[in-house]
């Protein structure tokens, strides 16, 4: 094929990593999939008025 000489192939990899924590990023709800609806929820992850996030330490450690 003509035209391919002189071109350099550059491949970028966009990698998404799900952190295998026990609980969610900002609260103690289980980080689980396939549970019954409305079970792994609390005032914090629902963003209810008055709730405050608390950072999951394991998530930070895994991310680093």
């Amino acid at each position: 094929m003509s035209g391919i000489e002189g071109w350099e192939t550059v491949v970028g990899l966009e990698v998404h990593v799900e952190l295998a924590t026990e609980t969610k990023l900002f609260c103690g709800c289980r980080n689980a999939f396939g549970s019954e609806p409305n079970t792994n929820v609390c005032p914090v992850c629902l963003g209810l008025p008055g709730s405050l996030p608390v950072l999951n330490r394991a998530a930070v450690e895994y991310a680093m």
Partner: protein, 473 residues
Amino acid sequence: MSALEIAAAVRSGERSARAVLDEHLAVIDARDGELHAFNLVLADEARASADVIDARVAAGEDPGPLAGVPVALKDNLCTRGVATTCSSKILEGWLPPYDATVVERLAGAGAVLVGKTNLDEFAMGSSTENSAFGLTRNPHDATKVPGGSSGGSTAAVAAGMASIGLGSDTGGSIRQPAALCGVVGMKPTYGRVSRYGLIAFASSLDQIGPITTTVADAATVFEVIGGHDPRDSTSIPERPPVVTPTLGDGVAGLRIGVIDELMEAEGMAADVLARTQEAVAALEAAGATVGRATVPAAVYGITAYYLVAPAEASSNLARYDGVRYGLRIDAANTADMNEATRTAGFGDEVKRRIMLGTYALSAGYYDAYYGKAQKVRTLLIRDFEKAYEEYDLLLSPTTPTTAFPIGEKTADPLTMYLNDVCTIPSNLAGHPSMSVPFGAGDDGLPVGVQVLAPSLGEATMFRAAAVLEGATP
């Protein structure tokens, strides 16, 4: 009876919690129709709680240091299963599924919840005239405001409807109404009292604190509600505060500085300044050395605050979108539904501050407004640090004037904002401060004097407050 006297009488069996409660409910019946301190009175629930306290005492148990004490909670504190409205239409009817940490701690100490009190909507205001459910009146003069935003809790305590109240203070919202209503109001060091369950206005400024008729009551409530809470990441990792053992230690040998910039601020009334000078004399008579302190950046406090607080509010109030809770005005699509809900649900002052805050944070303006305001905040913290090298405590009036007439300052928001000139600096710095009633103005209405302390300096602050309480004209 003070809260401590009530608790002592209930714990010893000398008085029943039920009898104490009924007395307070009678005052509510007699006066709340006029004063409107409460959004919601929980008479039946309170009677049931009081009966439980009495049964425990009869069984030989100790319900705690606030046994049987009737408490009024500002309606921005979440109470499980009980309407929590922030005096806003947008949360009308919402029932939180959880209690705020401070509510749990008060209940654990034996206090009896009497009701949820009125406030300026979402704690934005200095007069309680911004409530969506009608204003609250000052118990000393029903034509005057009680102050705000914790006007309901403060009026309730001042009128004898509750023995203690909890308010929140972001720019002065506990201390200013306390001064205008002649009661004690205290704002802790930022992080001393958990904000979990306090519906957020400005997250870096909000703090919960006691409103009481005596300094000793405020000290006890502070000890009960304070201390680390793992559910609040901004909660200081310290054990609960201890201030009552040293309450009577006096001020001999302490150095106290009167803040020049606040004494000379625009709008300070002569009678308020006169009471402050009398407070100085009282502290000197008690053995303190009182001088003039300078906190130069204090003159920029209001300006910095009315950029930082609305900016944080614009973020905190973004959740009120009609989707998960509260008011929903249906429309053809989500965006229109959000807009219709927020248009109908928020009052004018809330809308004003959301717009101010959104603008201050917007691309192109962030550095000029919010960024600059945060730098001013740092300058203020440094000025306080310098002042606290020379002084153990600082002093100022709490408010520029005594309680002003209802409707007098509602035409121009800036006029209302100036009420917070003395209280805002300690919110920006994260320092503790409290207002103690000290005499009256020329109009016979209460005047409050403000004691300020460095971070974690509550014990010393309370000592000075106790001296002022004992010397009040």
